[in-house]
């Protein structure tokens, strides 16, 4: 018998195993390690309140939400997918989905070029002080809020005294009313986001570049490779895994627009909505301005589900590229 062969190990006997299990059970552990449980308790409760509870609240997308009856007391929607029907029949929703994906796609693509480009250039700079100072300066915008960036933008773009319109006028053209010109805003937003986060995004690429063994470059230069060839055949290939992973993870978040940016830069300027309204701003407006909870919760539900699938998918793909770089 199998048991007999293990007879020397008491814990494999059924009775001893039960004792062993009991001695090491959860309740037992609660007693011996009570201080650890107490230490975890505050964050445990906070996550429960602000993360798990709203998660359960996803069901309100299928409900006819009533503030006085709460999440679980509100009646189910009739029919159950009513909120979704309503959402899908609105033009605003399809516009928001399209804008979210297109704008985020644009931000990711342009961001990649800027960040890798700046990292490669900084890596070529010989002067230590120049490198350090410019890196500090380009990182600075990351520290300010989108509200302040909104003021900067206003400062540059407003019709009456904006700096850009002053230049446009000086060159003899008509001033441009940026805040009613929807077609220009994908460009403006792209510039703004690049201005704000390029320095920040560059850091990781620069770290990867600094980590490349110098002997590769030495060998290449002995073989007569120019700096440009070294960048092309050593630096860029070595950056490839980092590039792929960061891009994949960004794609995983493509459904979640940066609400702060859109709200601070565009706000309630409805003239700009054709190109700037995204899911996040649509949900915000439905919830806080028009009080349309049904639409807001249906849009939020779809966003959460798609975001979840995309995060898992991109993380799976990232892990295929490089095991250590995925989040989980």
């Amino acid at each position: 018998m199998k048991l007999n062969s293990d007879v020397n190990k008491p814990q494999s006997l059924p009775a001893a195993a039960a004792v062993y299990r009991k001695r090491n059970g959860f309740l037992r552990d609660l007693k011996t390690n009570h201080s650890l449980y107490i230490m975890f308790l505050p964050v445990g409760i906070l996550l429960l309140l602000f993360n798990y509870w709203p998660l359960a609240g996803l069901i309100i997308a299928f409900k006819n939400f009533d503030f006085s009856k709460g999440i679980f007391g509100s009646p189910w929607a009739q029919p159950i997918l009513n909120n979704f029907d309503y959402l899908l029949s609105s033009d605003a929703a399809s516009r928001a989905v399209r804008n979210t994906i297109l704008l985020n796609g644009l931000f990711i693509a342009v961001g990649l070029v800027f960040e890798v480009g700046l990292a490669l250039m900084l890596n070529e700079v010989r002067n230590k002080y120049f490198k350090r100072i410019t890196q500090s300066i380009t990182f600075l915008p990351f520290f300010i809020s989108w509200i302040v960036v909104g003021v900067f933008t206003y400062n540059l773009l407003n019709y009456e005294n904006g700096a850009i319109n002053r230049i446009v006028e000086w060159m003899g053209f008509q001033p441009i009313d940026f805040y009613s010109e929807a077609s220009l805003w994908p460009l403006i937003l792209t510039i703004a986001i690049r201005w704000k986060v390029t320095g920040y995004g560059t850091i990781i690429y620069l770290a990867a570049l600094t980590g490349i063994d110098n002997s590769y470059y030495e060998a290449a230069s002995i073989d007569g490779a120019s700096r440009w060839q070294q960048i092309r055949y050593i630096s860029i290939p070595m950056l490839k895994p980092t590039i792929i992973i960061l891009t994949l993870l960004a794609v995983g978040r493509i459904m979640n627009a940066d609400f702060g940016m859109f709200y601070a830069m565009v706000g309630d300027a409805s003239l700009l909505f054709p190109t700037t309204d995204v899911i996040d701003t649509l949900v915000y407006r439905s919830l806080r301005k028009s009080g349309d909870i049904g639409m807001a919760s249906a849009a939020g539900f779809i966003q959460s589900v798609v975001a979840f699938v995309l995060v898992l998918g991109s993380n799976y793909a990232a892990r295929k590229v490089d095991k250590d770089s995925a989040i989980f």
């Binding site: 445990g44 609240g57 999440i71 300066i137 520290f143 939020g300």
Partner: protein, 296 residues
């Protein structure tokens, strides 16, 4: 050979020029705002915003300081939220990170999964808003701006990963000496984790200082509005300053209130603390990001 040296220096020059241009572009908006805050209203109206002021006046700062209680209030709110939020958040997330990093603790991985799940799934804005308003009654309270971001999963993992690099022997020997978990945490581990605590603390403080989303969602009461939100209100509408001016002579000044330069002055006041601390903070941020990048 000389040709090659020349070619390298040309490409170096091009690179230096491009980086310099981008750096200048990063600085210009800051300079424009500072100039705008010092310029007279007439200058702005006649010449628009420019890099160099024609004449310098501290008028708009004077009005900010004396003119309206709301700005002082907002500054106080932002300061309070930032300090309280940062202290609490660093304390609580470090406790959580500590528990998740205790190798001898059997259920630490279960707790880690509990934390990770919050990074993956999100209920989205609507249920979150309803929970905060309807059940937790955070509407129009200062807690609305402090509590929701307190337990941050990412920061907890940053701390946990740092703590995992501390050898287990330290815990063992402290236990042998009869130290309790609290004592080990407070006396031993926290002093050793100053670098990661500083990083997390800075991230959190920056988040609180720059936050206006929580204020926007939950705070309608004027006296509770944080600085960033006030700035946003001011940019879209300068009238409120006129209506909320208190001093008698403010009423007189407010007839000719320099609205444009006041917007700029408030912006300067809002970013002031960050730019002032920046040279000191930046190093920690870069370090922290590297740690985050390496650990994923």
């Amino acid at each position: 050979m000389p040709v090659k040296i020349k070619r390298i220096s040309i490409s170096q020059t091009i690179i230096v020029v491009i980086i310099s241009l981008f750096s200048i572009a990063c600085l210009i908006p800051f300079l424009m705002v500072i100039t705008g805050s010092l310029a007279t209203e007439n200058d702005i109206i006649n010449n628009g915003y420019s890099l160099f002021p024609k004449s310098v006046t501290l008028m708009s700062y004077k009005i900010l300081l004396l003119g309206s209680n709301r700005i002082i209030d907002a500054y106080g709110i932002s300061l309070l939220v930032t300090v309280a939020g940062t202290v609490l958040s660093v304390f609580l997330t470090s406790l959580g990170g500590y528990v998740m990093a205790r190798r001898s603790f059997k259920y630490r991985n279960i707790l880690s999964v509990y934390v990770i799940i919050t990074m993956l799934f999100s209920g989205g804005l609507v249920p979150w808003y309803i929970v905060c308003v309807n059940y937790l009654h955070l509407k129009d309270t200062i807690f609305a701006m402090i509590l929701p971001p307190l337990a941050n999963a990412f920061n907890m993992f940053l701390i946990r990963n740092f703590l995992l690099s501390i050898p287990e022997d330290i815990y063992e020997s402290a236990k042998m000496d009869g130290a309790s978990e609290y004592r080990i945490y407070y006396r031993l581990i926290m002093p050793l984790s100053k670098p990661v605590l500083a990083t997390v603390g800075l991230f959190v403080a920056l988040g609180y200082w720059n936050d206006w989303f929580l204020g926007l969602m939950f705070v309608d009461k004027q006296e509770l509005q944080p600085l960033q939100l006030l700035l946003r209100t001011l940019v879209s509408n300068v009238e409120f300053l006129r209506s909320s001016s208190n001093a008698a002579d403010m009423q007189r000044i407010s007839a000719q209130l320099p609205s444009e330069s006041i917007k700029m002055a408030l912006t300067v006041v809002t970013i002031g603390p960050i730019v002032f601390l920046y040279p000191f903070l930046q190093r920690y941020f870069v370090q922290g990001l590297m740690v985050g990048a390496v650990k994923g």
